[in-house]
């Protein structure tokens, strides 16, 4: 149903008839001075990233807008893991794809290693892609079934001419397979001959073959059994320590994110509602949504979950939230007259706490 807009400019024009929306998009695109020094030294800096889809519900009806991302800003430092947690439809996969420019953001800026990459053309984009790689959720779908493990891992090495000779390329593949914990003899196998965990290891070997500085992980353990997922987490941790890769770890699984990340962000309806060092987020849980998520993570009969009002439709589909807080309809702390009109910005409650929340009434107990 959704139709992707080709470029930011075209999308902005198509919504020009709607004053409030176009004003909002213009506001989102305005540069900010948030983050200061940290932003300049970060490996990846994402500013006000917004992705709007047009939903055509009928030929003669004006398209409705669905916000997949609403002004998401954050940074990732070198050698660090930033975890992003959110439920389905919160825009976390859109975020991953926008950063790699697999889909184009409507508004916003992506700065990688000090360079604005938002508008790079194909040639420059290719050089960039070597430096940031992605591992997808489903290793059954993300590996070409007609290629052997050798060919899959080898493809990137050949595209970027990282090996001088054929022999050198082969030994690079063998070393990579060992590095991700696979027997080099698996090189001649096809993906369907491997288990889910082995396939995900192949996907990781393919990604690190290009020696990237940033690895985006979109639900890398969600399709795997718990015990296999734990092995993949350990492998990623080991690779980060050895190779110094920065990881952007995106998952719906709060338990994994809070375990795995140095810093974490919580997404709701395309907006980052809380962001900070994992220990601080886990301890303080300023945003009511973060609080409900953490309460739901450790189910027990003694401490029942926080009950939030149930929505009729998923928040991302609702156009009503173009104004005000995205969480208004479900929030136990909502203040009518403010939260439904004004949009809370992601800001630090205490100066230099590095812990940011987008809420007018954060929970401070």
């Amino acid at each position: 149903m959704s139709k992707e807009s080709d470029s930011g400019r075209r999308s902005r024009m198509s919504v020009a008839g709607r004053a409030s929306v176009s004003e909002e998009l213009a506001e989102l695109g305005r540069p900010t001075i948030e983050h200061g020094e940290r932003k300049r030294t970060a490996l990846l800096y994402v500013q006000r990233l917004t992705k709007v889809y047009e939903l055509r519900r009928g030929f003669f009806r004006a398209p409705e807008l669905a916000y997949a991302l609403r002004g998401v800003s954050f940074y990732v430092r070198r050698r660090e893991t930033l975890g992003i947690v959110g439920e389905s439809g919160s825009g976390k996969s859109t975020l991953a794809r926008c950063i790699l420019r697999l889909i184009e953001p409507t508004v916003g800026r992506i700065v990688f290693d000090g360079r604005d990459v938002t508008a790079l053309r194909s040639g420059e984009l290719r050089a960039l892609r070597r430096r940031m790689q992605i591992v997808f959720q489903d290793p059954y779908a993300s590996l070409d079934p007609n290629m052997t493990v050798q060919e899959i891992v080898r493809e990137g090495i050949d595209v970027y001419a990282l090996a001088a000779t054929r022999k050198e390329g082969n030994s690079m593949v063998a070393a990579l397979l060992v590095q991700v914990g696979l027997e080099p003899t698996l090189a001649e196998r096809y993906p369907h001959e491997l288990s889910g965990g082995e396939r995900q290891r192949v996907a990781i070997a393919r990604a690190i073959a290009l020696k990237p500085e940033l690895l985006v992980l979109d639900e890398p353990t969600s399709a795997l059994d718990v015990s296999v997922g734990a092995q993949i987490l350990n492998l990623l941790q080991e690779l980060q320590e050895k190779l110094g890769i920065a990881l952007l770890f995106i998952s719906h699984d709060l338990r994994t994110v809070q375990y795995f990340s140095h810093r974490m962000g919580v997404m709701y309806a395309g907006k980052l509602v809380e962001l900070g060092p994992t220990d601080a987020v886990q301890k303080r849980r300023y945003h009511p949504y973060t609080r409900a998520l953490f309460a739901a993570m450790t189910p027990s009969r003694e401490a029942p979950a926080i009950r939030l009002p149930v929505l009729r439709e998923t928040p991302a589909e609702s156009d009503e939230h173009a104004r005000g807080c995205v969480f208004f309809a479900r929030c136990p702390n909502a203040e009518p007259g403010r939260c439904d009109i004004e949009e809370p910005r992601l800001s630090e409650l205490f100066p230099a706490s590095h812990h940011r929340v987008a809420c007018f009434h954060p929970q401070l107990d």
Binding site: E87, S195, D225, R255, A296, S300
Partner: protein, 333 residues
């Protein structure tokens, strides 16, 4: 009082590759108002357990040994026509993905209404009232207004609530739920689990909850049975299994769940790793010789490779299939 009892159940599935024993000697009981969680990883046979109870085994699959008794009635020997009366009216089922399980072209109200008519023999008007009451009970907001809505207009959590209403349509005594919250978001999953628990209590239902995630069943299950390679390897009260797992497999599963942050030091400072089980063996097992978990077991000793351990009683109702607990005396692993 025992409602459903499964005894020494064996299910074999024949395909082009030969006969696979999907379940081998599975036994458990479910009482009224009690929830049993059957937990296992993919391939452990947990879905086969659910399907066998319903008499819905896939083509090529059949029960070759053992019995399934519901209130004194043997289900494995029933003919298809008789089974049809059991399904819905005596056993309700909820599948993982409500969007696949629901009819996309019938309204949610009609689908519940149909279940009430077929399961209880109600006339249409009475069935409609009951369907409305059920939809309200499972927490569909504005049930009267949404009665004629199609499933795709509802969120995932709401669809699963509708599935539960359909399963309750025939006023069953047993509810079988196959991964009911796996496709749902965390908050929606918790609410659906809470609903299942409430319904089990207020309607004295026996609940069989199939799940792959040991960390998620604690809030609902009274008892937990852990499946490995078609066998129950551990069974007991949920509190005991989760706090003091006995079988090395259960211990490994619980250890590989990422711990909460406050329970540990900083990862970067300690190079901490999750303790993990040895990888599963992909080669075909030689069934009948030794413990099936022995190739992956950190506590394996000579006897494990020669003799298969029985599901030994450790204490009242607490069972483990491991030589460490043979004869009721616990050895130090």
């Amino acid at each position: 009082m025992t409602l459903l009892s499964v005894t020494d159940l064996r299910v074999e599935v024949s395909s082009d590759l030969g006969v696979v024993r999907a379940l081998d000697g599975v036994s458990f009981e479910v009482k009224r108002g009690e929830c049993l969680a059957v937990v296992g990883e993919s391939g452990s046979g947990k879905s086969m357990t659910a399907l066998a109870i319903m008499g819905l085994l896939p083509v090529g699959g059949r029960v070759t040994k053992g019995s399934i008794v519901l209130e004194g009635r043997e289900l494995t020997r029933l003919r298809e026509r008789e089974l049809c009366k059991v399904r819905g009216a005596e056993i309700g089922i909820v599948f993982q993905d409500p969007l696949t399980a629901l009819s996309p072209v019938h309204s949610v109200g009609w689908q519940v209404l149909e279940a009430v008519m077929l399961g209880r023999g109600y006339k249409r008007a009475a069935a409609k009232l009951e369907a409305l009451a059920l939809l309200t009970r499972v927490g569909l907001p504005e049930a009267r207004e949404r009665f004629d809505d199609l499933p795709h207009t509802l969120s995932g959590g709401m669809r699963q609530r509708v599935m539960i209403a359909i399963a309750l349509g025939g006023a069953p005594k047993v509810l079988v739920l196959d991964e009911p919250t796996t496709a749902l978001d965390l908050l929606a999953a918790r609410e659906v689990e809470q609903l299942i628990l409430e319904l089990a209590r207020e309607r004295s239902l026996g609940v069989v909850l199939i799940s792959h995630d040991l960390s998620q069943v604690g809030a609902v299950a009274d008892r937990i049975a852990v499946l490995y390679a078609g066998q129950i390897v551990e069974e007991g009260t949920a509190a005991r299994v989760l706090r003091e797992p006995a079988h090395p497999y259960t211990r490994g599963l619980i250890a590989s769940i990422p711990p909460l942050r406050k329970q540990r030091r900083r990862r970067s400072a300690t190079n901490e790793r999750l303790p993990v089980l040895a990888p599963r063996q992909l080669e075909p097992r030689t069934i009948g010789v030794g413990c099936r978990f022995a190739p992956r077991c950190p506590a394996v000793f000579d006897r494990c490779r020669v003799n298969e351990p029985p599901l030994a009683m450790m204490s009242d109702g607490e069972r483990a299939r491991c030589w460490l607990y043979d004869g009721g005396s616990e050895a130090t692993p």
